[in-house]
Amino acid sequence: MPQILLDGLTLGFVYAIVALGYTMVYGVLKLINFAHSEVFMVGAFAGTEVLLFLHAMGYLATLPPAVALICAMLIAMILSGTLGVFIERIAYRPLRQAPRLVPLISAIGVSFFLQDAVRLIEGLWKNAFYLTAPTLFTNKITITPTLSLPVKSLVVIMAAVTMMVFLHLFVSRSKWGKAMRAVSQDQATASLMSINVNRVISLTFLIGAGLGGAAGTLFAAQYSLIHPYVGFLLGIKAFTAAVLGGIGNIPGAMLGGILLGLLESFGAAFLGVATNGAMGAEYKDVFAFAILIAVLIFKPSGLLGEPEREKI
């Protein structure tokens, strides 16, 4: 049982950080950034490549694992963040005046493009597009003879909490955070207050995508095996988390992510028992989709979000 709880929490924190990216972009642009899952995936690859590089150079054995991880995360964040800004410039900005579905379609296009682009690059470079990240933290903290906590899960949780705290401080305290909130309220008015809307949007993408990249690295460190299509399902689930918490709402995304991780973990463990073996753990993905659909139908504003009202 505690094992299921810990697994759920670890997964939940990964969902939560990715969900932040969806929620921040939705907040300022009212756009479901479908390509965010691929930004996460790129982050996973970047982080893994850094770790593999350190491993090949022989540093991984000598460096403290925390330093190696931070190194990988930083590079992944820079790469993913830049990618996020580029995506916005190329595929979303020209469509800001278009009907709402057009940028969404463009975002799906970006997502598909990136999957194969990474496959192509890794294929040319490594001749394989499935990568296995080296294991960083192997030890476990033994609490009772039957219960031990793997350190790598704790690291994921700690890293996630740290990032969330920083993000929260940034959005609520800094000048740029205030500008971001202003833009999400009303772009036109924000620009009248001499806020550079384009720059705020770019910044939002930079931060959201950067967090996605960091989450990717953490994911690779935790679960090892990655491939170019790893972002798709995780992205949908992170989006579910964002919706569950109330899209556009930053604490909501964190709450939603953790809840979803726990629900999924317990669901997978008990689905078989509950349905007398008719439905096994294979249905755990269905579970996440079902939550998404149920939330959207019954409480589209999520747990912490404000209902949207159209002006007539």
């Binding site: 479901i32 190329i90 057009v102 379609i105 598909f112 194969d116 949908i236 439905m279 993905d285």
Partner: protein
């Protein structure tokens, strides 16, 4: 003034018109003479497009279409089975694209799980046209597989199953705003695929990831219709039906209600349009086309498994609709042809060409670079490029502009005539 203007327009368009005529007339025979040539195949396809765009009377166009699709294509197909296969696949996707276009293009509902309805139709036939159904229906009631004569009935079953699935999925979700609807339909599409993958227990209904085979081919009065040419004509007839239905719906009060919903839901409501009912109608119509095509697909492939119904398929069909032009039936057809020819022909040729170069030692190209493996990249590029540079698509929807103009002119003439009689 008018008399001066019209002739210049004619002379301007004369040369392309002759070129078009020459192309349309020669492309078919050339293709018959060179059935193996990709160039002849492309020219033939282009000539069909030109025929469609030419400003000649509709009956003439129909004659051209009947000759091209009814005589030339089948006769070439009997020479070159590969092109026959390509054209049948193209046909299946044309029908799917026209169907999705009803949902996305006409009604403006972004459905990212369209392939679920296709799967529903395919499994509806496959389960009963293999011995699979014996797993849950006692042999005393019926024996399986059913004979191929049932195929025709199953076309209807596919239609109904598609429509019912559409209504069942649509009913809870069609109240949602556009972008949420997109994600939810994506979720439903994936749920259907996962369920198909796992419904081999507790009762084996779908045979899980192993798939279903051998599926009975269609039969007519006991005669098996399993040759490509048979599928060709089956697919062609269904496409014609679907296109006619789609065009009629679009031009009707239902089509206008869809357009109104697409343009402004709130204003549409104030016109007395029942949003949920109209959206369900769009969903069910699109889904029923996919259901029918699913039955044909299952019969033609003789083997299906859940991997044929992935999210990528839905996006591929969406790319066809966006490329051709949302809301345009002709656009959906052309989009489907263009994407499939690109996938099945151009990329394949390119792969083979690169492969030959590597084999000859001219260039060393790693197998990872095989262009045929990068469908997602191509779909992605199509979607991005069309959104940014030409959101209305190759053939924009034109909303019966010409027809309406003519009618307005008639009406005015009638009115003015009436006013001449009555001096008041």
């Amino acid at each position: 003034m008018r008399k001066v203007v019209i002739p210049t327009q004619l002379t301007e368009s004369k040369i392309p018109f002759f070129l078009a005529c020459t192309l349309v007339i020669t492309a078919g025979p050339v293709f018959v003479v060179f059935p193996q040539s990709p160039a002849a195949f492309f020219t033939f396809l282009v000539s069909l497009l030109v025929l469609y765009k030419m400003s000649i009377p509709v009956p003439l166009k129909l004659v051209g279409a009947v000759i091209s699709l009814g005589i030339i294509m089948p006769s070439v197909g009997s020479e070159n089975g590969y092109y026959m296969d390509v054209i049948i696949q193209v046909g299946i996707y044309v029908a799917l694209a026209v169907g999705l276009n009803i949902v996305v293009g006409f009604a403006g509902l972004l459905d990212l799980g369209y392939v679920a309805f296709y799967a529903a139709g395919a499994y509806a036939y496959a389960i009963f046209a293999t011995s699979q159904a014996s797993n849950f229906i006692p042999a005393a009631w019926a024996t399986f597989p059913v004979s191929g004569n049932w195929f025709w009935l199953f076309l209807l079953v596919g239609l109904v199953v598609g429509a019912i699935t559409g209504v069942l999925l649509g009913f809870p979700v069609l109240r949602l705003r556009g972008d949420y609807l997109a994600i939810v339909t994506l979720g439903f599409g994936e749920i259907i695929r996962i369920v198909l993958n796992n419904l081999d227990k507790p009762i084996n209904i779908t045979n899980g990831p192993k798939g279903l085979t051998p599926i009975q081919p269609p039969a007519l009065f006991g005669m098996d219709l399993s040759e490509p040419i048979h599928y060709y004509f089956i697919v062609l007839s269904i496409i014609i039906l679907i296109i006619v239905v789609a065009k009629r719906l679009n031009a009707s009060r239902i089509g206008r209600a869809w357009a109104a919903i697409r343009e402004d839901e709130l204003a549409a409501r104030s016109m007395g349009i029942n949003l949920l009912k109209m959206k369900l109608l769009a969903f069910a119509s699109g889904a029923s086309f996919a259901g029918v095509m699913g039955v044909v697909f299952a019969a033609k492939q003789t083997f299906i498994d859940p991997s044929s119904f992935s999210f990528m398929e839905s996006i591929g069909i969406l790319a066809m609709v966006i490329l051709g032009g949302m809301g345009s039936v002709a656009g959906a057809v052309i989009g489907a042809v263009a994407v499939l020819v690109l996938q099945l022909q151009i990329l394949k040729e390119l792969s083979e060409y690169l492969g030959q170069l590597s084999a000859a030692g001219v260039l060393s190209i790693p197998s990872q670079l095989d262009p045929a493996k990068y469908e997602r990249m191509i779909f992605g590029l199509i979607l991005i490029a069309m959104c940014i540079f030409r959101p209305q698509g190759i053939i924009p929807a034109k909303r019966q502009l010409v027809r309406l103009r003519e009618r307005v002119r008639d009406w005015r003439a009638k009115r003015e005539g009436g006013e001449d009689v009555d001096p008041a």
